[in-house]
């Protein structure tokens, strides 16, 4: 199958607005919808409705009729059913859209459209113009699968419920009849009726237990379904014998009512647990809904370079890979010199040198400067498949506490089986019937499931809640560690301050116009992902004379037009960019600029102002100056973190005065704010704090703080972080709201509390109930009720974590 897995959008300099799938879509995405006009993309989120059409060749002939497609999309920003109607009307108003069904509750829509008359970017653009965000639903097949599973679980539960009620009706007379009131024949009739109605229960509702127990036996392992299945079989066996052979060794008492009640309670608990898991998984899978990843490809025959979807690449294409992006294919470097990180592939964290002629590996991260490569081999396993794999692995990874619980659960289960056997042997002396039922009680009442469930359920609930708030948890263990953190370290540029620098002053060397300086600077800055470079590119796009007033026309953004071909660009972290011909863009020291008062370059920098300098072979060319704005919620975030008892620190690569000023504004203690740090400096400072006993959380965007993100106990990649930071950090903040940081810490603490509560409950319950059952005080139905209640308590306690509302952090009203 030739479609690659979807991915988060690249942090490209051509469209520098941040994409936030949970808060609405930025204007830059209109251009990106064009990637979806490629018919090969349509299979990822839809299917053709005409059976006669060959789905693998959807290129319609100009003479043949167009194909009708049914596509699934997710719509963001709908608050009620009326919004759903608005979206529906926006789409059906377009010619070519046959039908649109939008569900406000689930946020999903199904659109039927004709490929010859309209393109996906058109009807997606219409939704966006109406004011709602829209993304292709690549997780549609997962949603379908889950729906089937849920249906089956519901059916099993309904069978259990109905059979339980009816069997109780038949059993009631046997309880309430006085001795002698009921004839033997009537008694046998009731038993028979109970037996018949327990059969559907056994075959439909109990099937998962038997399946799982069989799997355990064949693998020689043990899980909690084995005692349950044993208990069910023994009960049914004894009761069947009593029904058809009342004078036999197993007596004439039947237990169909206990059995069906027990199965009903257990299935109720499991159904709730399954719903919780599905909701969590659903929240995490929603992150799969992204626009396809794209890369810049050199245009053929004089056409401008274009960003194309990865799957459009062919062997022989020449593509440019910017620093921070991943190499999309195995290839050969044509021009440029850089270092790449192949750690995700080889495990080696030492960067590899790529020079013209060396071969690149698909999935490696470009660390330093942009390079042109020729594509030699295209792999199906792109970078993003690896990340998605990592994500799903993380969901299976078990945190420490859970592993501990599992280790206790296994010997415990063996003990339970042994205890049941002993109880049966001792009870046999009273009567075989009694002995077996005591054994059944022991088997059923124990709930090691509470032990095994305690941690995963809580962590999943918390992860799901966080995912809905825009925080992606990649390592569940991090939640546990986060609860014990006492210092939060922030990066400054791009994290505490907004990504977009507002450039409002330009100085140029006499003889050069502003437009020339701007286009030269932007051409150079296009090769970098640094926030200042991105700001420069955005500003230059915004001020091209063609489109005055609006932020760039569509045409401008589709292609990266390069009036000046800059060669041999290399970037030095923290300093700037350099290119062939003596071009330099970056800090004052890097560009050899004289900043004494009265100099043409703008004089000394005022505090709070940021500058990017451009110089060429003849010296200083231009200065671009702007102000960096703090994020609106930065101050509230720092206060909230302090209210949680954490100390806040700042490590910045920017000038010390800028760092101190930001610290003063936000309320960060001056001795915890450091400016002028290289990435190594940041790591050294962090390690010093860690040696002093602090457990740290690092929040950054991966730019100049990659090592310190890896070194902290818990790391959060913020917003549009460099892809490698997103892959390596424990959590990713997709919505660029700093307030999610204190909320996440608060939730992590609550999660740990809930896990401890669950473990204590599981231990107490088993310690109390197992002896009671061995001594024969627990009838089978009570044992069943106990087990189901126990796991329900654990699941509901964990579900509390995913309910919205109640003060999320100290500052929220």
């Amino acid at each position: 199958m030739a479609h690659s897995s979807p991915s988060p959008p690249p942090a490209s300099s051509a469209s520098s607005a941040s994409v936030n799938p949970l808060d609405g879509v930025s204007a830059a995405q209109t251009a990106d919808f064009a990637v979806l006009d490629d018919p090969q993309e349509w299979l990822a989120f839809g299917k053709p409705l005409d059976a006669s059409v060959d789905a693998s060749d959807p290129f319609p002939d100009s003479t043949s009729p167009s194909t009708t497609w049914q596509s699934q999309v997710t719509v963001q920003g709908m608050h009620c059913a009326a919004c759903a109607l608005t979206v529906e009307r926006a789409m059906t108003a377009l010619p070519g859209v046959v039908q649109a069904q939008v569900n406000a509750a689930t946020g999903r829509a199904q659109v039927v459209w004709r490929s010859g008359q309209i393109k996906p970017s058109d009807w997606m653009g219409a939704v966006q113009a109406a004011g709602y965000g829209i993304l292709p639903a690549n997780d549609a097949s997962l949603v379908d699968q889950r729906k089937t599973e849920e249906r089956r679980a519901l059916w099993r539960w309904l069978v259990a419920a109905l059979c339980m009620m009816q069997v109780m009706m038949y059993a009631y007379p046997t309880y309430s009849a006085l001795p002698g009131d009921m004839s033997t024949d009537s008694l046998h009739l009731m038993h028979w009726a109970g037996w018949v109605l327990t059969l559907p229960l056994l075959f439909f509702s109990c099937w998962p237990f038997f399946e799982s127990a069989w799997r355990d036996l064949t693998h020689r392992s043990i899980s909690m379904d084995l005692p349950v299945a044993l208990g069910l079989l023994v009960t049914f066996g004894v009761s069947t014998a009593a029904t058809f052979d009342p004078n036999g060794v197993f007596g004439d008492e039947v237990y169909f009512d206990s059995m069906s009640m027990f199965v009903f309670f257990l299935l109720s608990a499991r159904w709730l647990e399954q719903r919780l898991k599905n909701r969590t998984a659903g929240a995490l899978d929603v992150l799969m809904n992204r626009l396809p990843e794209s890369v810049e490809r050199r245009g053929q025959n004089g056409e401008p370079n274009q960003r194309v979807a990865l799957r459009e690449l062919r062997v022989g294409d020449e593509v440019r890979v910017l620093p921070g992006e991943a190499f999309p294919a195995d290839g050969e470097v044509l021009s440029g010199d850089t270092w790449a990180d192949e750690a995700l592939l080889t495990g080696e964290s030492a960067p590899v040198h790529y020079a013209p002629g060396s071969s690149t590996t698909s999935g490696a991260h470009n660390l330093q400067s942009a390079v042109w490569i020729r594509v030699l081999r295209l792999g199906k396993d792109t970078r993003l498949a690896a990340i998605v794999d990592l994500m799903s692995q993380a969901a299976l990874e078990k945190p420490r506490l859970a592993q501990l619980a599992d280790r206790v659960a296994t010997p415990f289960l063996w003990l339970v089986l042994l205890a049941a056997l002993l109880a049966a042997v001792f009870g046999w002396r009273v009567s075989p019937n009694h002995g077996l039922m005591v054994a059944v009680s022991v088997l059923i009442v124990t709930c090691p499931c509470a032990l095994s469930l305690a941690t995963p359920v809580a962590m999943l609930a918390a992860a799901g809640r966080l995912a809905r708030g825009g925080v992606l948890v990649q390592h569940l263990q991090a939640l546990e560690t986060l609860a014990g953190v006492d210092r939060v370290v922030f990066d400054k540029t791009g994290t505490l301050t907004q990504d977009a620098l507002h450039i409002d002053q330009i100085w140029v060397r006499p003889g050069v116009t502003r437009e020339q300086a701007l286009s030269a600077g932007a051409a150079l800055a296009a090769h970098s992902l640094h926030p200042l470079s991105r700001a420069l590119v955005k500003y230059s796009e915004a001020s091209t004379p063609v489109s005055s007033g609006c932020s760039g026309s569509k045409k401008e953004r589709h292609g990266v037009s390069a009036p000046m071909e800059i060669k041999d660009v290399s970037e030095t972290a923290g300093q700037g960019l350099s290119a062939a011909g003596g071009w330099r863009l970056g800090s004052a020291a890097w560009c050899h600029v004289d900043l004494s008062p009265g100099s043409l370059a703008g004089g000394p920098v005022a505090p709070g102002r940021h500058r990017v300098y451009l110089s060429d072979a003849q010296g200083w060319l231009a200065t671009f100056e702007g102000a960096e704005l703090l994020r609106p919620d930065a101050q509230a975030t720092v206060q909230a973190l302090k209210a949680l008892g954490l100390s806040v620190a700042l490590l910045s690569g920017d000038r010390p005065e800028a760092a101190k000023q930001v610290a003063a504004e936000l309320g960060i203690a001056p001795d915890l704010a450091f400016g002028g740090c290289t990435p190594e400096d940041k790591l050294t400072q962090l390690q010093a704090w860690q040696k002093a006993g602090h457990r740290t959380l690092m929040v950054g965007d991966g730019f100049n703080d990659g090592p310190v993100l890896a070194g902290a106990q818990v790391s959060m990649a913020f917003g549009e972080a460099v892809p490698i930071a997103r892959a390596r950090s424990d959590m990713v903040l997709l919505s660029t709201q700093l307030l999610q940081v204190p909320r996440t810490v608060h939730l992590a603490r609550r999660t740990l509390r809930v896990v401890k509560q669950n473990l204590i409950w599981a231990a107490l319950y088993n310690a109390l109930c197992v002896p009671l059952a061995i001594l024969g005080y627990l009838p089978a139905w009570l044992a069943g009720l106990g087990m189901a209640t126990s796991s329900l308590v654990v699941v509901l306690n964990a579900a509390r974590l995913s309910w919205p509302g109640r003060a999320e952090h100290p500052l929220k009203s």
Binding site: A81, A104, L154, S186, L189, P200
Partner: protein, 45 residues
């Protein structure tokens, strides 16, 4: 109370019939999308 020997088996058959009906309902998706039905009244058509 001999009539019970007819009624009880009849009730068993009835329960089995109800189970079949429930199967049909679940397979047809009758229990899904419940929230959407409440807002149907707001639609124009």
């Amino acid at each position: 109370m001999d009539i019970l020997f007819l009624l009880v088996p009849l009730s068993v058959v009835l329960v089995l019939a109800i189970l079949a009906g429930l199967w049909w309902a679940v397979e047809r998706g009758q229990f899904e999308g419940i929230e959407q039905e409440a807002s149907r009244i707001l639609q124009d058509d």
